[in-house]
Amino acid sequence: MTHHHSTARLGSRPQALITAVADAFFPPAGPIPLSGSDAGILGYLERYLSRTEPLQRTMIRLLIAFIELGPLAFGPRRVPFTRLTQEERIRSLEGMFASRIYFRRVAFTSIRALMTMAYLANDEVALATGMVADLDPFDLREGS
């Protein structure tokens, strides 16, 4: 059964932002070696958006825009997210996580949930965490 609302790809600016956010959440050379962009987060999110109803798609785009524009109001430097350094990007996200403003915390939880779904969807990442699906973890099936 097909499952697409839209075949439109993201423009270059949203793509750059998603890649920046993905690599801030999941930087390269970390305890899981694969970075967010290496794990294919951008492609995952494009496919995810293509299956999303128009209103939810708009909400996700607004969320991404909020991430991009957030540092202009809240720092660590008053430039868009994509113009921050890697370290500043991580601090920007951490600032959202710990914010006294409820909506910023909700935005953080939402964007990180999307990013985490995408990251853990990568087979290599899943293998690294050990969380691989097993239909019969206790060998209960006859003949196993």
Binding site: G30, L55, V106, M117, L140
Partner: protein, 521 residues
């Protein structure tokens, strides 16, 4: 039972045999029947089966598609987009914003819940009586219906061989504190402990209504149409005459052909959120003003217990044990598993530190608490220009204080189970608590609902039953006060919290409603 047994055989018959799908439709649908049932979840499927077996001409409509083992995907994002309304992003506005998941598939919520079948204690119905004057719903009255449903589904306790270490640790923690902890009773057979309940059981162990009651309804002559969204109930004075709706494509939900069904009697079981939307759009059954009012949740919170050694929490029944010791105080304690990306909402941080937490999943166990939240309520309203509802729900501070007490007990369970740390996922509390003393902050720090990541998939009371027609939407037989031949049979008719997981109670009430219709109509 027979269906369940047959489905286990090699080359077992298709459990969805006879279910009509969008590919079966040529243009618009125009039907007529004696009894029209809307919704194939724990309410509607029971009503359809019982009335078909009573010899009535039944049509059952379901908005979602039939999904079988081959359709279930484990990747959380795609799974939610396939099986949940609004792709799993539905949330109630309020304090806090509360995600709430409702299914859109044949079988409804029973397809993607953790299959817990729990009978509410008798005093729950005393609460119902005090709230809305309902006197005829008691444990004694419902027990024969619980018996019937449990027999049909093969409900049994979760066996120890599929519990796994995550569930065992929860049990250990409860018992070390002197709390009772019992295996959950579930509508599953031959569970292998794959913990895939929330994304669909690829072992086919879950006896959801699509493979049990719907299949039985078809064998008894019911006609089942999927991918049909009911938009309006048609009425003339105090009588409904049928429905109008649309055929909708699976997963994209794009409307296609039109649907018109004429019926002598209609039973709405589109869910606590879906049914009030239909009634509000139809402008019927609401002289009391209670349609969509009094939305009730069982808000839930989880903490991550971190153990010194790997416990492989993805192995074992999704929710294998629970403790009901604090039910009268409005708290129920459970252990659970869920797609890791969903559970990760409670982990702190980002960057390398967050990746470290993901690598430690093998040592984590989510223990959760749900709260009756008797003082908290909300609403279901229409959203302009959308078939999705506008939900609102506020967590009353009195209930939140009970919840915070529950979190303290949950913390105790973690330490008693041998945890070396807790990740509480609470704003204003350290991200990692490394001792029982440090964890006392969970009890002592003043917190408010917005400091939590609260969710609730148990929802009820939006078309509540009441003795006085001014005080509710239906009577104790599920019949709308305003409309002679319109019934409701989903969790919307609850008069108050069920105290425990609501599916079995919904089914028992639906069984009673169906037998009442068969008797009196």
């Amino acid at each position: 039972m027979i269906t369940a047994a047959l489905s286990m055989l090699p080359n077992a018959p298709d459990p969805h045999a006879g279910v009509l799908e969008i590919s079966d439709y040529q243009g618009d649908l125009r039907l007529d029947c004696e009894v029209l049932v809307v919704g194939s979840g724990p309410g509607g499927a029971i009503v359809a089966k019982e009335l078909a077996e009573a010899g009535r001409d039944v049509v059952l409509l379901e908005e979602g598609p039939p999904l079988g083992k081959a359709d279930f995907v484990q990747e959380a994002g795609e799974s939610m987009q396939r099986t949940l309304r609004e792709g799993g992003t539905r949330a109630a506005r309020g304090n806090p914003i509360t995600p709430t998941m409702q299914a859109i598939a044949l079988g409804g919520g029973s397809l993607i819940n953790s299959a817990i079948c729990a009978r509410p204690p008798a005093w729950i119905f005393d609460k119902w009586r005090r709230r809305t004057g309902i006197e005829g719903i008691t444990r004694e009255v419902l027990d024969p219906h619980f018996d019937r449903v449990e027999a049909c589904l093969g409900v049994a306790p979760t066996p120890v061989e599929v519990q796994g270490e995550r569930n065992h640790r929860f049990k250990l923690g409860c018992e070390a504190l002197g709390m009772s902890c019992e295996p959950t009773w579930r509508n599953v057979q031959n569970c292998r402990g794959s913990a895939e309940c929330f994304t669909g059981c690829r072992n086919g162990a879950k006896k959801s209504t699509d493979v049990t009651y719907v299949a039985a309804a078809i064998r008894a002559g019911a006609r089942v149409y999927t991918s049909v969204r009911v938009e309006r109930v048609l009425a003339s004075g105090r009588r409904v005459t049928g429905i109008r709706g649309r055929i909708v494509e699976p997963f994209t939900w794009t409307p296609r052909g039109k649907v018109r069904v004429d019926a002598k009697l209609v039973v709405l079981a589109a869910g606590c959120v879906g049914t009030p939307v239909i009634l509000l759009k139809s402008g019927i059954a609401n002289s009391s003003g209670w349609v969509g009012r009094d939305l009730r949740f069982h808000p839930g919170l989880a903490v991550m217990a971190m153990f010194p050694e790997p416990i492989e929490p993805w192995k074992g029944a999704t929710q294998g044990y629970h403790s009901v010791d604090y039910l009268k105080e409005g708290l129920k304690f459970e252990v659970l598993w869920s797609p890791p990306s969903v559970l990760a909402t409670r982990l702190p941080g980002c960057g390398h530190a967050y990746q470290e937490h993901l690598l430690r999943y093998d040592r984590m166990a989510p223990f959760d608490v749900i709260c009756a939240a008797d003082d908290s309520s909300g609403s279901v309203r229409l959203r302009r220009g959308s078939h999705h509802p506008d939900l609102h729900w506020d967590f009353a501070q009195t209930d939140f204080e009970i919840m915070q007490k529950g979190l303290g007990i949950l913390s105790d369970i973690c330490w008693a189970a041998g945890a070396e740390a807790i990740l509480p996922g609470l704003n204003g509390i350290p991200e990692v608590l490394r001792s029982r003393d440090e964890a006392e902050l969970i009890r002592t720090r003043p917190l408010e609902p917005k400091d939590t990541i609260t969710a609730s998939n148990h929802a009820f009371c939006t078309t509540r039953m009441a003795k006085d027609p001014a005080d509710g939407v239906v009577d104790e037989h599920g019949r709308c006060h305003d409309v002679d031949n319109l019934f409701i049979a989903d969790t919307g008719i609850f008069a108050a919290s069920s105290g425990v997981n609501p599916m079995l109670l919904c089914m028992a009430l639906a069984d009673r409603i169906a037998l009442g219709i068969a008797d009196r109509w």
